[in-house]
Amino acid sequence: MDIKVNVRESEGDAYVVDLTGEIDVYTSPKVKDAISELIDQEHYNLVINLEKVRYIDSTGLGVLIGGLKRVREHGGSVNLVCTNPQIKKIFDITGLVKIFGIFDDEQGAMKALV
């Protein structure tokens, strides 16, 4: 019922945000803050790792979409790592699969950034 957020630098000025737990109306502000801080620091190539996320709701999706919109304004992108079938299903039925790059592992998501 909580979220852990870990931000780390990766290759080629890209940043990875590791999320662990549940992203809902209560916890998503914490995720939003982490992503906003990266963008404020002019990091526009982000991988958001959802492998350890058990649950995401519309507010969590909204935060991801908001982040994507902001980095795109600077020619950047947000790629997601997602293996949980229930969460993949949410991206499917909302059509957000067409907006985000969604990958099975971090290497794939990193490679597609550059």
Partner: protein
């Protein structure tokens, strides 16, 4: 499935009341999932129900003023679950999202929530009453 449940079509209601605040939505999600696990839903179906309930509660937050509460009533039948989510706020733009059109870019988060409810549940109806507030009723059937 518990045969006692199957035998009795009006098996019983579980009612939950939480403050309309973000930190309590997880309680609603877990309680309703616990109720759902009493009939033969699959793990995926229980996840669908959890998300739909959470979206319905999230819609109540920020509307209805200070002290607004969310009342969630779950009723179990032999092959379906009926859940209603009531609060004293009005409307939530529930009409603005259609089930089958897919989710167009530019929609706001609240509409995304309503879209998910319609996509994940088998029947969704709502009732807005200027005095009583909004009641969203959802049915999920065992597949």
């Amino acid at each position: 499935m518990n045969p006692a449940l199957a035998a009795d079509p009006s098996f019983g209601k579980i009612e939950l009341r939480i403050p309309a605040k973000a930190e309590w939505v997880a309680v609603a999600r877990l309680a309703v999932a616990a109720v759902a696990s009493r009939i033969h839903f699959s793990v995926d179906e229980i996840e669908d129900i959890k998300l739909a309930i959470a979206e319905a509660c999230t819609n109540c937050i920020g509307h209805g003023g200070e002290g607004n509460q969310i009342e969630i009533t779950s009723e179990i039948f032999s092959d379906e679950m009926r859940i209603s989510v009531r609060d004293r706020s009005l409307g939530h733009k529930l009409e603005s999202v259609e089930k089958d059109t897919g989710f167009a870019e530019g929609k706001r988060t609240e509409e995304l929530g309503v879209f998910l409810i319609r996509a994940l549940m088998d029947e969704v109806t709502y009732d807005v009453d200027a005095r009583a507030g909004t009641e969203l009723t959802m049915i999920k059937r065992v597949s």
